[in-house]
Symmetry: D2
């Protein structure tokens, strides 16, 4: 068992990590760190009255002492890498994650701070597992004993894998217009005000549209000369909205292909048959079927479909012709599992199996 | 005062008509009709335990006897025209509305049954007030003593007037991709199941996308030879979704212009300055400013903006460049006021002022 | 494996039965019946677009042909007993359940129709498992080959077991005032209108207060001379309210004891230690710990606690002195699991282990 | 017109004051103050993106400069009294309010800090308008040029006036058990976390039960020797819960009378006929009928009834016999209008008409 740590362990995503890692076959949580005001308390105490999951705090984690996440020295000897779920501003996050990597404690991060750092891979294991190859370059150039690896924004997960499945089969996508209906849990604690999300829609989430539009280019890019060269051949317009849903980001997507256009049947078949490296390697958090297509008109729905395959599959439905582009459909993925803690764990599993984490 | 009737008076839209017509300067409700099972009861009794508005039932309507809507003879002598808010299938609605018009009781309808009947105008008074000119043709050809006039679907109201304001100024729109987040009140009683709309999104509303895509062509069309010639120059793709909001349909809209493209400033100015015939005629239900543009990033929101100008204005926000088309923005309108009963009343006011209703 | 049937199989509780019985160690669903309009369809077809659970329909049930529940002959040879989850009026339900029992197909019912039939036991296995003894009398008197057994109303489950745990220890309860906050799923499909349950409370549920007040007397009663003699020593006042929660009925409870009053510590210890026959018999659906007591001030909460121990445990919290009675606390139980399908299955397990079902 | 100020003007209750005071016949907002971080900005700027009301910010207030509430000198000359809607801890609130009163700027407060200060009246004008008589004593003893007057907690408003109406008629209440279902707006900004209030109930609100139980004794008390002598003859037990409702606190109430018990008809008549000093004085914010009784089984409901009579009336329903006490019923009042800003304004109107504010 590999001892792992979680920095930002008391936050919403941190809690989800702790729950999902209970009984994990490779990793065991041995180190939890958060802001100075939680430091010194037992984990149970630190989240008292703020534990937001219906499952109990795992017994082994309850009694762990929460450390100050800023003090890397506390992590040494306790864990071989950390999941980063910190909720700080970009600059402080970068510094903090760098400090861990430098000291030999690799960082599998949920935070957006390093997503556009050239030598940091932004992984969706079903799509760009080969991007792990920049890690050795990253460590060498920076003279670090550990490394940093990130995952993309939660909003991207509802469409990036389905689009990749089509591109991989030779059907290049030219343009996409996306409108999201995102869950409140994506906001972390306190970011959305409670009254706002009763009987309401908020048609704005700071920074979310930019992430939804730019991140795919890096994910779909190629590694050349120790850097990730972006593939910005798809033009994306994303409208991001917050709706009164607890978990599960839904998106409506209109797609225009390049010269080669698939038939509706081809698309559905490509989605249903899509498998990739995580499935071949049988990674514990890999969904058996990464893309689930529903035939019913009124699916996917967040409440019914967000938990599909442990919350790690993308659920699609309503593929139909688009009067403006070629096709349109609805996508849904669980924002705090596939789009956050579960996605981070899958990244770590891939890195472990490829020998980057020991 | 013109005596008016409401058929479908006990349903959700019927109730809204009754509330909105209280103290109306032109019209007074004197006749209420519904399904046979309500017939014979006082209106108060008929809606007992089912009155869904926070305002009380107007005193004068409480004691009116509900008639069987199928029996046109009951309406004769009691009202000079009716608002139709019936919830029946298309064919029965057509027959019913025809029977009223034939008998000289004109019908201002919310129902979709007659929306694509060639000689029936589908009015948005700010846009196509001149379409009333087919009414005389309609009456002549059908040898009716009354006429039928309809209003478009509620989902259309969040974007049709803003688009028209730009087209009128010479900025022709070529293509639009729209994604709606529609309120549950649009479904009428019982159509959505209650559990479905807690912590959920339903990415499908039967027939709604077709209406959202086809109705603009008729609204923007021209009357020639007693028929409405559609203007289908705008290609529209609409994704229609139901979200946990009580009132107010929100839409995200990406727009591509033809050769002539306005600047962002021009668009906002055109919207803010937009006025039309209902404003000039000072119709009681006409919003002072049909289009309200918000500068804040996080507006419009249904809970804050649906009631703008008595629920009759369209609220817009977030106009910005679209990486795929030219511009994108967010639109919002009140689905049971502007999109239903209030819109019907505005149509009736226009028809009254133009001499069609007496 | 005992072949079982479900009548009312397509409704909300019927669906829950089908899900919960997947992989059950004693029972296998072989017969599904519903209203005539579903008869003849495969189960999958019959619930198309209306399957309300996030878990898939069990593969074996998908292809079962739905029979007309009114035709008992269809059940013969296919199942040895049925779970009744029909949603009909009382008289028709009684007749229907009687017809099955008469034909030798015993009925484990969720319906309220037979709850006050003198020779029908109303079981909460942790409390009155011995009431099964009236079954032989029931069969003999009625000359039936099968029997009927019922479970109490879902609202009762949040307080009846905790109260019984105290009474059993000699602390007789004299009076209770209860106020419930009940979930919308308790209403079955369509009973609550969707708009009503957004941003609202409905302070009335037809018949619910009577059930909450009267059923405990039968549950806590004794079997004498083949009849259940009620114990109406506890006076109960129940205020029943519907709130915007999907699953999980919460109740606030003020309790007045008789002469012997427990201390706060005694009460909590009695609750934490409470075990009964289902636990001793290790029945598959028996919660390990029927009563879970939370120390945090803000628990139990429906979203966090309804699923405790597979949704079969009662969660309590906030035990404190009551300025008016002796003590007060908060109770919560899952209304469609413990309070409906799960409770029915636990009853069947008890009956099976006691030799009544073969 | 009397110039008034609002301290805590940017918070949720502060915003409500500003909206409700627009076009007030006696008072005009001339001074707005908040925390130092808002000081110096225009009011419009200070609430940018945080204005939570559907009505626009009143034009006159938009451009007022927000002052630092801690600096009383800023208020001098600008307003003759302030409404206090500050959200600080008790001690700092007391000091702050004292400092204003000392300087001759009287304080009509929403805050709980001074509710149990002996010489500060806690007013519900329909009940204890005569408590204003301790004000002169307060000013004299403290040697202040102004005074402080408070209003009770929002949760009390759903039952205190109805109970008073019965007591005043000679039907003394002995014991009450109350269970509340309170709206999220009562929590102010950020106090409840958004995720908590989707599909959930929180059975705890810090300090709320104590307020609900103790405040009635002071409200119903008598002024003797310049102090408020409490009337603690009613024993109250309150269970306070937060539910997913935006505005409107609902409560279920069981009541036991002393020797003299009214009939159901008497109670309803007493409620319907209840009028008091604010009605007689025709104060602008006084509801015409302070208590509205609904005959329908399913009323009052927060969404339908909270706005009754401008949000200032209490709505009641379901009066019926209680199997444990004598009667039980449901009460509802608007927590941010009657229970907060509207209640404060009514207090100020009373004080103005009685000559305490100039």
């Amino acid at each position: 068992m590999i001892p792992v740590g979680i920095i930002g362990a008391t936050g919403m995503v941190g809690q989800k990590y702790i729950h999902l890692l209970e009984n994990h076959p490779y990793f065991e949580v041995r180190y939890v760190a958060a802001s100075p005001k939680s430091a010194g308390k037992s984990y149970e105490e630190a989240v008292k009255g703020r534990w937001h999951l219906s499952q109990d705090i795992p017994a082994k984690v309850k009694s762990l002492t929460v450390e100050d996440a800023n003090d890397v020295s506390k992590a040494k000897g306790k864990c071989s890498f950390v999941f980063s779920a910190v909720e700080m501003d970009k600059e402080r996050t970068k510094e903090l994650e760098n400090s861990y990597a430098q000291e030999g404690i690799s960082v599998v991060s949920n935070n957006s701070a390093h997503r556009f750092t050239e030598d940091v891979p932004m992984l969706v294991p079903e799509i760009n597992h080969d991007h792990v190859s920049i890690i050795s370059e990253q460590m060498k150039q920076r003279n670090w004993k550990g490394f940093i690896c990130v995952k993309p924004n939660c909003s991207v997960q509802s469409y990036i894998t389905p689009i990749y499945a089509l591109e991989k089969a030779g059907f290049k996508v030219k343009r996409m217009i996306i409108s999201t209906m995102q869950a409140v849990s994506g906001a972390g604690f306190n970011t959305v005000e409670d009254m706002d999300m009763q009987d309401n829609v908020i048609p704005f989430i700071g920074g979310e549209e930019e992430k939804s539009e730019y991140e795919p280019a890096k994910i779909l890019g190629k590694i050349e000369d120790g850097k990730c060269v972006h593939d910005d051949s798809i033009k994306i317009s994303a409208h991001c909205n917050r709706v009164p849903v607890i978990d599960g980001h839904t998106a409506t997507i209109s797609v225009e292909f390049g010269e080669k256009k698939p038939s509706k049947e081809e698309i559905i078949a490509l989605w249903k048959d899509f498998k990739s490296v995580p499935q071949e390697m049988d990674l514990p958090f890999a969904p058996k079927q990464p893309i689930i297509y529903h035939d019913e008109d009124n699916r996917p729905q967040p409440r019914l479909d967000r938990d599909a395959d442990k919350g790690m599959a993308v659920s699609l439905g309503r593929l139909r012709e688009c009067p403006v582009f070629d096709y349109r459909f609805v996508g849904l993925s669980h924002n705090t599992i596939r789009g956050a803690a579960g996605g981070g764990i899958l990244n770590a599993e891939l890195l472990y199996k490829k020998g980057f984490l020991k």
